[in-house]
């Protein structure tokens, strides 16, 4: 923590940053996103197993500073979405200072005690506990016990289902959708200035929370994130209706990997899967 605070204070004092997006505790000791505007603010920074938020979402939501760069405290997984934003030309590498944090996994149910059982499933396969890309690195790696991947069995089951059974599964899940679009708002890669669901002339997607409207929204979001989702699972965490969105996103990510050997958010210089034409791309994938 001291390292994190010292680096942040130094960045303010040397006027390198306009603000730093990090984590702080509220009066009930809950860890939440906090934007520091001064070295005094930065003294409240914390990082621990409860630092669940992917703060990179704020990079495209907060106003661009007139002077100085944006500092951001980020776990290895969150840095993947920062790299993705750079790959997709949404931010410039030179405009951000990344304070990478060695991460000892994060909690799943935020209001319950962190434990092996209460660890986010995404941490199970994490290969970036020490971030792969950063300007500064803080924190120490400790040995962690990893959770069970409860979703893998569900994904296998879904794969073996008939089209009708899959439809029934997702219809029941999407039926709960309240169309709040919290999934979109917390997603660092949902940065469109005007989302397709908000377009009304003409209206492409029913805004009603009906079977048709819910399928249209959730499927279009899954398509838009294919080969782009970096698996932070913020959408699933934010969903008040408990829709298992990570199943969709993870499946699409696996397709991108298996069919095109592509993983988004790993190399700032790599052209994106969707934004790049490669003559060697397989065509048998197109139905």
């Amino acid at each position: 923590m001291k390292q994190l605070i010292d680096i942040s204070k130094e960045l303010f004092e040397s006027k390198k940053v306009a603000y730093i997006i990090g984590y702080a505790e509220d009066k009930f000791k809950r860890v939440k996103p906090f934007v520091a505007h001064s070295s005094l603010d930065a003294e409240t920074f914390v990082f621990n197993n409860y630092s669940v938020n992917n703060l990179s979402v704020y990079l495209t939501r907060l106003p661009k500073p007139k002077d100085g760069k944006i500092g951001i405290v980020a776990k290895g997984c969150d840095i993947k979405s920062i790299i993705a934003l750079i790959q997709e030309n949404q931010i410039k590498r030179d405009d951000v200072i990344i304070i990478g944090v060695n991460c000892n996994s994060v909690v799943n149910q935020i209001d319950e005690q962190f434990s092996k059982e209460n660890t986010a499933i995404k941490c199970k396969y994490c290969q970036v506990r020490t971030p792969a890309h950063y300007d500064y690195l803080v924190g120490e790696i400790k040995e962690v016990e990893l959770p069970e991947d409860k979703n893998f069995a569900i994904m296998q089951k879904l794969d073996s289902m008939s089209a009708e059974e899959k439809w029934n599964f997702w219809e029941a899940e999407f039926e709960k959708c309240v169309k709040c679009y919290a999934c979109r708002q917390v997603c660092p890669l949902c940065y469109c200035e005007q989302c397709i669901v908000d377009k009304s002339m003409p209206r492409w997607i029913d805004s009603s929370a009906t079977t048709k409207g819910n399928f249209a929204w959730n499927m279009i979001r899954a398509f838009h994130l294919s080969g782009r989702c970096i698996g932070c699972n913020e959408c699933e965490r934010a969903c008040p209706a408990d829709i298992p969105l990570s199943l969709l996103n993870r499946k699409m990510g696996m397709v991108a990997m298996n069919e095109f050997n592509y993983r988004h958010g790993t190399d700032i210089n790599q052209p994106t899967l969707i934004g790049n034409y490669n003559v060697n791309d397989k065509e048998d994938f197109i139905m």
């Binding site: 996103p33 938020n53 907060l62 708002q185 009603s208 008040p240």
Partner: protein, 346 residues
């Protein structure tokens, strides 16, 4: 009005009877996250120790999408077809005071300059069986907005646990009384008001004074607090959709094909940028700080100005579900503190 004793078996029997008659029976889902229509008495959940559901039960009065009418085109003419469900009876079991009390609160706006027949019909056709709440976490503040875990506001009948298998059932409204008399085979054993014990119910401490909060809001439309709050908020509106009292809606037309369609009333929220976007492109609430100010002000100032009610039941749903952990209780405490400071400075 009499008070009754109901055993769990009697409640199950009542549920079976209602399911075989014309009632839609609504209870907490097994995971306690939402309210659902059930098809068997085995699915009934009445648990006063449970955390408030993630999403309130308002959708049974104000559905997330509701057809206002259908239309059909005949050459150059349109036929309009009524969509209102006149006769669907509903009964809700085990809703907490922080959920039931929202119905009379939002009823005021749904019956202000225009009487919303869709909402009113559903209220008229619904029996609400409230339940004392024996759950407290740091997000609860019902006592700060004039309610309590034993508040009967909005309930027709109200359950107070006696032991693991029995509830005292208070009759609150005439509608409740009528319901009881039409199910006299179930409501057989009466109990004195004095014998109903609510002393064991934990009561949350009062955290702020809404009058002082309102006085501060009256004078601080422009304050740096809003900038701070707007900076953290991602504008996802989970808070509004989970909230028992948020009631904003959008009206849209949806086609089934070029000759028919429906007009629908859908949930909407002031946290969305397009909520206030004018056709000209101008947006009076173009930034999140203005939108967050609207959320707080509507609940604790504008609604109080107009209807003499606070548009909040202190249930804490918005805080529990917030992806960035914005705590409305802490914000109101902070505002109350600012109000006290400004009073002492004057």
């Amino acid at each position: 009005m009499n008070n009754y004793v109901l055993s769990k078996d009697q409640i199950n029997k009542l549920t079976q009877e209602l399911l075989t008659s014309d009632y839609k029976v609504i209870s907490s889902s097994k995971d306690g996250r939402r309210f659902v229509a059930i098809s068997s008495a085995d699915d009934l959940m009445i648990n006063s120790n449970q955390k408030p559901s993630a999403v309130s039960m308002k959708e049974f009065f104000f559905p997330k999408t509701e057809t206002l009418f259908f239309y059909k085109r005949n050459k150059d003419e349109y036929d309009l077809i009524d969509a209102i469900e006149e006769n669907q009876l509903q009964i809700i079991f085990g809703a907490k005071p922080c959920d039931t009390s929202a119905i009379p609160i939002v009823s005021k706006v749904f019956n202000w300059d225009y009487k919303d027949v869709f909402f009113n019909k559903k209220v008229e056709n619904t029996i609400i069986i409230g339940l004392t709440c024996n759950f407290i976490d740091e997000n609860c503040f019902c006592t700060s907005v004039g309610l309590s875990p034993i508040s009967e506001k909005g309930s027709d009948l109200f359950l107070i646990p006696i032991d693991e298998n029995k509830f005292a059932c208070k009759v609150v409204t005439e509608k409740g009384e009528k319901f009881v008399s039409s199910h006299s085979n179930i409501f057989t054993q009466t109990i004195d008001e004095q014998s109903i014990n609510t002393n064991d119910i934990k009561i949350p401490e009062k955290r702020f004074e809404p009058k002082e909060v309102k006085e501060w809001l009256d004078k601080n439309f422009n304050h740096s607090l809003w900038d701070e709050l707007g900076e953290n908020c991602l504008g996802c509106a989970q808070c509004a959709f989970a909230c028992p009292t948020c009631h904003c809606f959008d009206i849209v037309d949806e086609e089934c094909n070029h000759t028919c369609g429906r007009r629908a009333k859908n949930w909407d929220a002031c946290q969305f940028e397009i909520f206030t976007k004018h056709a000209s492109g101008h947006n009076p609430r173009n930034e999140q700080d203005k939108r967050y100010r609207q959320r707080i002000s509507h609940k604790f100032k504008y609604y109080a100005d107009k209807f003499d009610e606070i548009l909040c039941t202190g249930c804490g749903r918005c805080t529990r579900g917030c992806p960035v952990f914005t705590d409305i209780g802490i914000i109101l405490e902070d505002i109350n503190q600012l109000a006290k400071e400004s009073i002492s400075n004057n």
